[in-house]
């Protein structure tokens, strides 16, 4: 009989429901409980999903047996829930951003390491077929040695002055970063490496807490450098795939977004032809037991379950979550002070 990961989900908003539906659809999971501080949401989700429901994690943990917790609450509660769960020996999958604060993110990571808990953060764009394939190609050396990693993330979400409700909503979501920015920054680090120094310019067009437009140049520890151009106050960008990477190596260049990989290679390599080539996402084999709403989400959850069931470290880990949180702080600090920053990056262990 197949071994299953017994899991509880906390936070039954839109994302929590998506996670629950996917967990129901993947045979690696056994959904045990749902938790939401809003009793009505918890009860409704529990009844719909046919599982027990609770208003607090503590109550669920003391009443039910589960191996792992999926945290789908707003980011401000990730630290408290995440540390509590790993201290109780639960393996934890946490939505992005990990904590929105690098100190808290590192504490979460260290608490998990100390207890031997396996952790993953919800940077699901890594599991999207095009970005996954691009990573494989880069690591196979088809472009030679990577020298440049550029990132573009454009959205049209905040294009008018901030009202009181907007402000609360944006703060709860970690502003532009929480909307899509951190996904892009995670991909940037995944390809570029850990940041060594950077200089950013940031602008608050309509928001008051965090920047709406961010431009930065970064030198990564491995010598790669890159430009990042991000923001949610650009007009007319309604597609999610306005998130793209532009990569250049010693023998090729690649542009990757959610729809396709465009490549130019100076010479044939790894099965990829010399000159121009184009790979659509729909041409990349992608099979999952259950697909729901977004390419990448099912594979991300499959990866978490497989890692935990096999006792292997999941990726992206909470340390990766820490790196993104640290990068956001560095971008904001550099932009605020108009300065070049060499962010202090703590080691994983």
């Amino acid at each position: 009989m197949q071994k299953k990961l017994r899991v509880a989900i906390v936070g039954m908003g839109e994302m929590g429901m998506v996670r629950a539906v996917i967990a129901k659809g993947l045979s690696q999971y056994e959904l045990v409980s749902v938790i939401d501080s809003r009793g009505t949401f918890a009860r409704l989700a529990g009844k719909q999903l046919g599982v027990s429901h609770y208003k607090s994690y503590a109550k669920a943990a003391s009443s039910e047996e589960f191996d792992a917790l999926i945290i789908s609450t707003p980011y401000a509660s990730h630290y408290e829930l995440g540390t509590e769960a790993v201290r109780q020996g639960k393996h934890v999958f946490c939505e992005k951003p990990l904590a929105g604060d690098s100190r808290k993110a590192m504490e979460m990571h260290r608490a998990a390491v100390k207890k031997g808990a396996l952790t993953q953060v919800g940077y699901n764009w890594r599991f999207h077929p095009t970005f996954k394939k691009a990573k494989e190609l880069v690591e196979a050396g088809v472009m030679g040695e990577l020298k440049y990693a550029g990132l573009k993330v454009y959205k049209s979400e905040v294009t008018r002055p901030e009202e009181k409700a907007d402000r609360k909503n944006r703060e709860e979501r970690f502003g532009f970063y929480g909307a899509l920015g951190v996904h892009g920054l995670d991909l940037w680090l995944w390809f570029g490496g850990r940041p060594a120094s950077m200089s950013a310019q940031t602008t608050r067009v309509f928001s008051s807490a965090l920047s709406d437009l961010i431009s930065a140049v970064c030198r990564f520890e491995n010598g790669v450098h890159g430009l990042a151009d991000l923001g949610w106050s650009h007009h007319g960008f309604v597609d999610k795939d306005e998130l793209a990477l532009f990569l250049t190596g010693t023998s090729g260049t690649m542009t990757v977004n959610a729809d396709r990989i465009e490549m130019y290679l100076e010479k044939e390599c790894g099965g990829m032809p010399c000159g121009d080539s184009l790979i659509y996402a729909s041409e990349i084999p992608y099979h999952t037991e259950f697909w729901f709403t977004h390419r990448g989400l099912s594979h991300e959850m499959e990866a978490f379950a497989s890692s935990v069931l096999d006792g292997k470290k999941p990726s992206p880990s909470w340390y990766d979550g820490y790196l993104v949180d640290r990068l956001v702080e560095a971008l904001e600090e550099s932009g605020r002070n108009n300065s070049v920053i060499s962010p202090v990056i703590e080691e994983s262990e």
Binding site: V21, G25, L44, E242, Y280, S282
Partner: protein, 296 residues
């Protein structure tokens, strides 16, 4: 009810493309008015197509109504419900174009049934209200078939929501149409329908030579297609998001997968010529064939 062998899809009309944001932007511009949607439908009709898919979107509905005036009962309309964000906006009322605002208004409007659902776990009254609105929106197109949107089908099946699926089926039958399901998870949906003791006469699912969105696997989808002899299968994503030439995709769907019908999204008049000509070539006399589908 007649279900044509080959049908026109509607994804490009609401700017769905798997080829990139440039094409999505182009589709948004190109199909912003009724005339542009109608032109593609009309050309497809000239090429012998008699089956037309439609979402509950204003431009598509108006174009279908106009085409119905020309083709009368010889055309078959397949409506996909609900268009989720459209439904939310309609439930929320005028001025709720913003997605977040629409969500908030939808929740507020449905708060009594939502609270009731929270207490009893019964979502049926809320879904009933949404379906009622959406069925009224598409009424003018006189739909022959009404299919449940793939996201809702998948969600309802994986969470064993028999009452929701039954509600949908009953509502569609009440309107004199044949109910069907669309899905991106054929394996799961077929297994769940069997376990729930529910039957739908038509299931629309991806079938293409790339295996694009054929979950859980190409082999399993082909096996289900062969085994479920009482279901009429419509192949969608036949061209694998535009990455397969029409001739290859259509030949695979009918000859390898053995689906009864296909639905093909067309982005322009010239694309209609290319795609449906390939269909004619592959299907021969069968090109204009229609299946007589009875609701279970």
């Amino acid at each position: 009810m007649k279900l044509p062998k080959i049908m026109l899809g509607s994804n490009p009309f609401h700017a769905v493309s798997y080829r990139g944001s440039d094409e999505r932007k182009e589709f948004r511009r190109r199909f912003a008015d009724v005339d542009s949607v109608y032109r593609v439908m009309e050309r497809s009709a000239d090429l012998g197509v008699r089956g037309f898919h439609s979402y509950a979107k204003d431009t598509e509905i108006k174009a279908i109504v106009r085409l119905r005036e020309r083709l009368g009962d010889s055309m078959t309309v397949v409506s996909i419900l609900p268009d989720i964000y459209g439904a939310m906006s309609r439930q929320a009322g005028e001025g709720a174009q913003d997605k977040n605002l629409a969500k908030i208004k939808l929740l507020l409007k449905n708060m009594p049934s939502l609270i009731s659902a929270g207490v009893t776990g019964n979502l049926v009254p809320m879904i009933d209200s949404i379906l009622k609105t959406e069925l009224n929106v598409i009424k003018v197109t006189s739909p022959n078939f009404i299919f449940l949107h793939g996201t809702l089908t998948d969600m309802a099946c994986v969470t064993d929501q028999r009452s929701l699926l039954q509600l949908f089926k009953d509502k569609v039958l009440e309107r004199g149409a044949v109910p069907g399901l669309t899905t991106h998870n054929l394996g799961m949906v077929c297994a769940k329908l069997k376990a729930m003791g529910l039957r739908f006469p038509v299931i629309e699912a991806p079938f293409n030579p790339r295996g694009f969105m054929m979950q859980p696997s190409v082999e399993k989808c082909l096996e289900l297609r062969r085994e479920l002899t009482d279901v009429c299968f419509i192949g969608k994503k036949v061209l694998a998001g535009g990455s397969v030439p029409p001739r290859e995709g259509i030949a695979y769907a009918y000859r390898t997968a053995g689906v009864h019908c296909t639905v093909l999204g067309i982005g322009s008049v010239s694309e209609a010529d290319e795609t449906f000509s390939a269909g004619k070539e592959i299907l021969g006399d069968e090109y204009t064939a229609q299946y007589d589908i009875e609701p279970f």
